[in-house]
């Protein structure tokens, strides 16, 4: 069993999903990006997006969190929570919802900080500049002046793996951590 894996939550807060020299496979849609981590650093929690004012009982437009974009050859591991009273749907990329079930799409509210203080259920990954989109619902009878989202995590700089190493990983001869950096519409019947 690997010691580091996505959405991990032991006693304490967040852990990196991989360390330097670890192999990772960043899945974006149907593309597998086979990479080796060559550098990583923490990104302390910061306000990554303010969707802005939302009228009473309306849904905002879907807004891209460009502040969560990374440079080429990099991926990010983030956890997040909203601090204003709204329900937020999460999309990555713009048309692929996350937290998706057959009949509904899960939302995040500020209450997540008491239900899941480590935020491990909110964890997501970003490949390069394919950053997520947020859509907020003001469920109140009052207008909302702002809708702010706080995110933090880790930034990883990676290099490409050789085909020989990829083959070893696929044959089970070398370890690799798989991370998902996009939503999935599932497999049609």
């Amino acid at each position: 069993m690997p010691d580091l894996f996505p959405h991990k939550s032991g006693l304490g807060l967040m852990e990196p999903v991989a360390l330097i020299n670890h192999n990772v496979c960043v899945l974006y849609g149907s593309v597998k990006n086979w990479r080796k981590v060559i550098y990583f650093e923490p990104i302390p929690f910061f306000q990554c997006l303010d969707i802005g004012a939302i009228a009473a009982q309306t849904t905002s437009v879907r807004v891209q969190a460009v502040n969560l974009q990374l440079q080429d050859n990099e991926f990010g591991q983030f956890r997040w929570f909203p601090i204003d009273n709204c329900q937020i749907r999460f999309w990555l990329p713009q048309v692929d919802g996350r937290y998706v079930l057959r009949n509904t799409q899960g939302v995040l509210e500020p209450t997540i900080t008491s239900r899941d203080p480590c935020l491990h259920m909110t964890e997501f990954f970003v490949w390069e500049d394919y950053s997520p989109w947020f859509e907020a619902m003001n469920v109140m009878d009052y207008a909302l002046a702002q809708c702010r989202i706080i995110a933090g995590g880790y930034r990883y700089v990676t290099s490409e793996l050789s085909q020989a190493t990829v083959t070893k990983i696929q044959n089970g001869q070398e370890a690799c951590t798989y991370v998902v950096a996009s939503g999935s519409a599932g497999i049609p019947r």
Partner: protein, 121 residues
């Protein structure tokens, strides 16, 4: 383990002497952080009000936003007693959130006031 992810930063406004009464003379008693280079936007909640009524009469103080015709009460007016200190703490105050500067005016001057707030990013 207690994790308080929603907690803000406790700050205080300046000691403000409101020597002129009336809504036209409302003054900022706490200014929200708005540095152009800061990341994100901030709001704050009122946590404590401390002051002195030197108006030579009991008087109301209004706390809200804006000045003059733009002034809007954010909480009900508070009655202060002539010659006395007043001290409203968190349990006395509604959990109103400000996203712009907090302003205040007394119906009769002079009233000195200072507020404590918790500012959120």
């Amino acid at each position: 383990m207690v994790v308080e992810l929603l907690r803000g930063t406790r700050l205080q406004g300046p000691v403000t002497v409101m020597a002129v009464a009336g809504v036209a003379n409302a003054v900022a008693i706490f200014q929200v952080s708005t540095f152009a280079a800061q990341v994100g936007t901030r709001t704050f909640r009122l946590k404590r009000i401390k002051g002195l009524n030197a108006a030579l009469a009991d008087t109301l103080i209004h706390i809200g936003t804006g000045v003059g015709v733009a002034f809007v009460d954010s909480i009900p007016p508070l009655l202060t007693i002539n010659g006395m200190n007043f001290d409203f703490v968190e349990d006395d105050l509604p959990e109103v959130e400000w996203s712009v500067d907090m302003t205040c005016y007394p119906v009769a001057a002079t009233v000195t006031i200072q507020v404590e707030v918790e500012e959120y990013m």
